[in-house]
Symmetry: none
Subunit: 546 residues, 2 copies
């Protein structure tokens, strides 16, 4: 807490293109979302995320707790200056006044005003156990704290939302008191009273029943804040809407403490696509996938491949059986058109691959297979044969594209020929390791011999390959291995086990995945690297060698 | 499909400790879960997962589609022979007979019988659009296909469940026809008719309404199969139970096509802890976390840190504001006691292993930790330190037992000392590979130098080690590497990535798993081998060296 709060600032005006007030999409990624284990946001990160959320078109962006830590105080100051809010209003989060203190004298409340945020969310206890144990005060004083703080901030020209922490657990224990808190806040001028399932233990049917009763008994405008501890946060949010809540608190990608919060993206998608209620500005829903991934990048977490609506797998089909039917009518096999949320359908090439899925995949990659049934047949045969040998193309799009293009063009798309290579790993008596690799190659008519060390044998091979080739292909310079996976497969027909390696490579502008299969991990890695660089050079527009 | 199906096999009898039939927990990890992008299960993987599910106590394990691919056919044969089913019944999945074919003549139906599975799930269309487009037949013939196939399999002594694919979409389009399919199946003898939200687009309120109506109108016993495309699969499953469904189809960790299926663990936890309905055998709910993580290891996916109930973050609290209140009454800050599902509350990021879990684990392994609080503290510290470095003991019981016994006995339990080793992999101009390893060891006072070749560098190291040691320790002879998994972990603090290897070893009587972590795959493999043979010799009763 700051001891000497800065003077109160005039609140920012309501933005011109603010979304209608009858339904609130309220984002708390920057405050509650940041509680997720592993997330640690700088002020710059918070500003970037706020821009993405403003761009997405949420109505409210809760930025943090000004006064509680200097980072949040700085964020509010800079957000006011640096971000052009056209849709969203900035929200400061804080607590009701301390027990036994006049609200005018509470420095934490003063810091809320000083943030200049036009909207303030106050957190309050509505669970008698928490009032006594955490606040160490009486239920009556807690009500006074709510009443005084809401009224004071209203008098200062701020809009106030009140978060009832642990509401549903408190309601189960003492519904009369829980409802008194709601009524007190509403009567003191809170625009919305938000019922929070802070411990996240509720299920949708419970939420619907409680919200319906509280709405009927208090007449307050209600909001919902759900945590995902039962795996039902999205459903709980919608259950509250079903019961009459008109304000939903969510976080991008469901980030939050423990399991996480209600995920903004499936909530918004359900409201717009399933309920038919527009809650974002025109055209913004189609930005969902982009914004979800962009925010993941800022917080430095890999975007979940299986996140509803926005995951890279969310509209991926293992073709097989249904491929021909999907070709005729994709809508029979997907709950929405993925373009509505900015995602795309993908056909996975798997060992059940048939002609129809290869044709679809070719179309997706922009490779024209025309009406050449014989060509498609050849690709199907090659994929089947390779998958029987242990390859998988589902997770190695670049290897599949190379295979496809080689069949279409009727020639190998390669940039160098390997004569031989060698990798040595040595564990020395002092416990350290030496990793050394040598490659012998031919490229553009030249014989190249290169040796390099690395932190492991594959890294040493990778370096030797690049040392040898970078002079001839400077386009390799920005390419970098970003992921590496190994799987041991049982051999077919008792031939012993085989090793499959999947490699992801990036050139700073995009990523691609390749696969290698061999009887040992080094040889399989080499194959995956070979494909990775061939695809990278193809992508960079370099002409393959004959 | 097989052309000439093997003869029908007598179905396996109902297991002795089968869970009561009034509510079905039906797992389809091995069939529908395997549709997840990136999952590719061998028969050995499927058997291991089936053992975990049997151990967890689900009522039904859907193993795959016998006859549709040789792997599934082999799985059913081996599962019958190799797994001692005490709780679960094995289920074979297949389709109704082809249009225009007599059910007795359909080889796919014959393969279902040949699997010997006592229960068969038949998938059928209940959506007129799919009947016409995917099956290319008439709605009436589709009903006949359902009727004939269910009746035939019942006559052959099998229990039949019918999956109505695309039920909810079909119901929206033509509720009369959708209900006719349910009634037809039920009247023909299907024990359960499972309503499938195949495209996953439903929300809980819709599920409840449809299930309630179908139940009232048909009187059939109903099940639910939900996909997670709206992020509501768990809630949708529970919504169907609320409406009267008594059979839930789920997958471990929610694996499945696109976004995934309804997740077995939060569904079971909600049924037991929120609904108060026991659906697992006594004491099994506390195995939830362990089994969730073990299955993730088998499919080679990182266990989700944020999965409800079982994630390592699921009961993690960023200490601070509430720390002291949590200490006084943790139940005010968690929706359930994490021990109920085998998880633990964590207050600090580094607090990975608690005393209680170490004590429990010691008891499980038969290692007496007595009341020695200092000893337990030392083990906790060592586990924390090693897990921070990338080790995982959840899937490496043998490495953990070695660590534990070494602390208890206060000495290393080792059988040889390594001086150095070296592995060479060479790709020759003719495309073949040479893999050679040399080890230099001390055992029983003798210096041993041994060299061997292998099909890869790890295999060569393994052989060199055994060539060197088998004369001194003949007990090594029956030991054999049976599984080998590699995962690349992101390094902490920018130190680059590290490699974790998990090895399973068998001596023909049992299997054990060990872990190694190092900056490269060969060195990590060596560590895991070192532990594997130390544990194997300990298990064989050989006295360790001093």
């Amino acid at each position: 807490m700051t001891d000497a709060p800065p003077p109160a600032t005039t609140p920012a005006p309501r933005p011109a293109d603010a979304v209608p007030d009858d339904f609130h999409v309220f984002d708390t990624t920057l405050r509650d979302g940041a509680q997720r284990e592993g997330i640690n946001l700088t002020v710059a990160d918070k500003l970037t995320i706020a821009r993405h959320l403003e761009d997405f078109g949420v109505g409210f962006i809760e930025g943090g707790w000004p006064g509680a830590n200097p980072r949040d105080t700085e964020f509010f100051q800079r957000a006011r200056e640096e971000i052009d809010f056209r849709h969203a209003q900035l929200v400061a989060f804080g607590a009701t006044r301390k027990a036994g203190v006049r609200v005018e004298d509470d420095p934490q409340v003063a810091a809320l005003l000083a943030s200049g945020a036009p909207v303030i969310t106050l957190v309050a206890k509505s669970h008698v156990g928490h009032v006594e144990l955490a606040l160490r005060t009486t239920p009556e004083e807690n009500l006074a704290m709510v009443r005084d703080t809401v009224a004071y901030l209203r008098d200062q020209g701020r809009r106030v939302f009140l978060d009832c922490e642990h509401f549903f657990d408190g309601y189960a224990l003492d519904p009369v008191y829980a409802k008194r808190v709601v009524r007190t806040a509403s009567e003191a001028g809170a625009d919305v009273v938000v019922l929070c399932d802070t411990n996240g233990g509720m299920l949708p049917a419970q939420i619907t029943a409680v919200v319906r009763t509280v709405l009927a008994d208090t007449g307050a405008r209600l909001g919902i804040h759900a945590q995902d501890d039962t795996g039902c946060a999205v459903a709980n949010t919608l259950a509250a809407v079903d019961a009459g809540a008109t304000h939903v608190q969510c976080t991008a990608n469901g980030y939050g403490e423990r399991v996480g919060n209600s995920n903004l993206f499936p909530v918004v998608a359900a409201l717009e696509l399933k309920y038919g209620r527009q809650v974002l500005p025109d055209g913004k829903l189609a930005e969902t996938t982009r914004i979800s991934h962009a925010i993941a990048e800022v917080v430095n977490l890999t975007p979940s491949t299986h996140q509803p609506y926005v995951g890279v797998s969310a509209f991926a089909h293992k073709a097989g059986l249904h491929a021909s039917a999907i070709k005729v009518d994709p809508d029979l096999y997907q709950h929405i058109d993925p373009a509505l949320v900015g995602n795309t359908m993908r056909m996975l090439v798997s060992d059940m691959a048939g002609r129809a899925s290869i044709e679809l995949k070719g179309k997706e990659l922009g490779v024209d297979l025309g009406d050449d049934r014989e060509l498609v047949g050849r690709v199907v045969e090659r994929v089947k044969e390779r998958e029987l040998a242990g390859y998988t193309y589902e997770a190695a799009d670049a290897s599949f594209e190379l295979l496809l293009r080689e069949e279409v063009q009727g020639r190998a798309l390669r940039y160098f020929t390997v004569e031989s290579w060698r990798a040595i790993v040595e564990d020395r008596p002092d416990g350290t390791h030496a990793n050394e690799a040598t490659v012998k190659l031919w490229a553009k008519g030249e014989r190249i011999v290169a040796t390099a060390e690395g932190n492991g044998p594959v890294n040493a091979l990778d370096r030797a390959l690049r040392v040898g080739l970078e002079r001839i292909y400077p386009q390799l310079a920005p390419m970098e291995l970003v992921d590496y996976k190994v799987r041991i497969l049982e051999g077919a027909l008792g031939t012993g086990s085989i090793t499959r390696v999947l490699v992801s490579t990036s050139d700073g502008r995009g990523e691609w995945s390749t696969v290698g299969v061999a009887e040992n991990v080094i040889a399989a890695s080499w194959q995956a690297l070979d494909d990775a660089y061939a695809y990278g050079l193809l992508r960079a527009g370099v002409e393959p060698q004959d």
